[in-house]
């Protein structure tokens, strides 16, 4: 299992050919209290960079992009009833969706956890 991060503050946990996607702790802190999340349904096909999910805090709406392409195998149904899961456990229970990787090569060039934590210190 490997963990990657993007400069858009998303994380991707890869287990075999399935990638779980969410937003980082840094991202949820910047957004503040999250009151709504909309995640893609199973079967939806996403290309890298597509709008994949919506997350809204008290202050603003943000799009979550697909950091890698593939077919969605599951959206996190728990977020509809309790979007604050994203605030409480952004890199665990607050995941957004899982997809079947179309091209593992798209993971190349993403940051690993240490590189990401180091990079956000510079922001």
């Amino acid at each position: 299992m490997s963990l990657y991060f993007t400069k858009e503050h998303e994380w991707i946990r890869v287990d075999g050919d399935v990638a779980t996607v969410g937003i980082s702790n840094h991202a949820q802190e910047a957004l503040g209290d999250i009151v709504f999340a909309e995640v893609p349904e199973a079967g939806k096909s996403l290309s890298k960079g597509d709008d994949a999910a919506v997350v809204e805090s008290v202050k603003a709406a943000s799009d979550v992009y697909a950091p890698v392409g593939g077919e969605v195998v599951e959206g996190n149904a728990a977020l509809a009833d309790d979007p604050s899961l994203i605030n409480r456990d952004p890199e665990g229970e607050g995941w957004f969706f899982k997809l079947k990787l179309a091209d593992a090569g798209e993971l190349d060039g993403l940051m690993d956890e240490a590189a990401y934590r180091e990079w956000i210190e510079t922001l």
Partner: protein, 372 residues
């Protein structure tokens, strides 16, 4: 009025906000705290206890001169001649066409009138007053004064402990008090729908006062984010969003601010149009909206009727922390302004069901004296 951070002004409490964990953002030409611990927690704290807001960006203007009340009545539609000493009234600075240049609070303060206007509009307001008032009326922009608001059900007990006598004020009443030898002009008013006070204090004394207030466990500092969600729940319009030069007091459903005498006599800017709108109804009206589902619908969303025709726009909207659901306000064609009318909202291509809601969304809890 966002700007580059180099151009932004600093308020007297700037360092205090940062020391208390305030996340600073550009607002009305200043760097101001949008939140401390979090908007939701700050909002709910204010509804349950007491929240301290720094609103020093607002303009504090003092007018004096012969018949200052009569002069101001040419620009404001409220009854100022009949306003007693130490009483305040919500009013608006009107353009000649009846459009709203700003909304404000006006207090009779002895020989003077004290007006508190919005931060982003204060320079324009001053120019309007100087251009349109007779030269015999002098205007002093009290730039050295800071302004705090203490709001919430525990505000009166907290402030009474520091400044004995303030609890005697009733809603929309004000007076001069002292704390630690320093003069404070305190009114029982606010922008949250809760009981509370607004305190004008010299900029050099404001940090000590903020420290004294937050030393009480019932008080927490509250940022602009919660100020916005609190006023939205209270149904109170925000200038530049729910009010602007294209809206009149009648369109904005602020008829209460046009007193009876002014309605029959006229004699204020835009009176012809405003009196016609009072008689015949305005083309559009500001309404509250209950939005189905959980997703916030925000400023700029379109309002559609049953046939999909655009009948107005959302001017403010978001998640209501007290109600746990989305609420909004906006303008609709007057025939659709009745409470309960079903409407559709469109935001980023997505449709939302909504209905016209009576405002406030959360009941006001002002401190009105019995029989007053």
């Amino acid at each position: 009025m966002d700007g580059n951070s180099e151009d932004l002004g600093k308020l007297p409490l700037d360092a205090w906000h940062r020391a208390h964990g305030g996340r600073m953002v550009p607002f009305a030409g200043y760097e101001m705290p949008v939140q401390y611990e979090g908007i939701m927690a700050e909002h709910l704290w204010t509804r349950d206890h007491a929240g301290l807001f720094d609103v020093s960006h607002m303009g504090q203007l003092l007018f004096h001169g012969p018949e200052v009340d009569k002069a101001l009545e040419t620009l404001l539609p409220g009854d100022l001649l009949g306003l007693k000493d130490g009483r305040l009234r919500y009013s608006m600075l009107l353009a000649e066409d009846g459009g709203i240049i700003d909304d404000l609070m006006a207090t009779r303060r002895g020989e003077h009138f004290y007006l508190v206007v919005n931060g982003a509009t204060k320079q324009g307001d001053i120019a309007e007053f100087e251009r349109r008032l007779p030269r015999t009326v002098a205007l002093d922009h009290m730039k050295e004064q800071a302004l705090l608001a203490l709001q919430g059900p525990e505000a009166a007990a907290v402030l009474e402990a520091l400044v004995p006598g303030v609890a005697e004020l009733s809603f929309m009443q004000a007076g001069l008090f002292h704390w630690d030898g320093k003069p404070l002009w305190i009114s029982r008013s606010g922008y949250t729908g809760e009981d509370g006070f607004e305190i004008s204090v010299a900029g050099r004394d404001v940090e000590a006062l903020a420290d004294a207030l937050t030393a009480d466990d019932r008080v927490r500092p509250i940022g602009l984010g919660a100020r916005d969600s609190l006023r939205l729940e209270a149904g109170l319009p925000l200038y530049g969003h729910d009010l602007d030069g294209s809206t009149t007091p009648v369109m904005a459903d602020l008829i209460f601010a046009i007193s009876k005498r002014r309605r029959s006599e006229g004699g204020f800017a835009g009176a012809l149009r405003i009196m016609a709108e009072l008689d015949n109804g305005p083309a559009q009206k500001r309404v509250g909206l209950n939005v189905d589902g959980r997703q916030p619908v925000r400023e700029g969303a379109l309002i559609l009727d049953g046939e999909g025709n655009e009948v107005g726009r959302v001017t403010s909207g978001g998640h209501s922390p007290s109600l746990g659901r989305p609420i909004a306000m906006g303008y609709v064609a007057t025939p659709l302004a009745e409470a309960g009318t079903a409407l559709t909202l469109e935001q980023r291509g997505k449709l939302f069901q909504a209905s016209v809601a009576p405002m406030p969304f959360v009941p006001h809890r002002y401190h009105r004296k019995q029989g007053a």
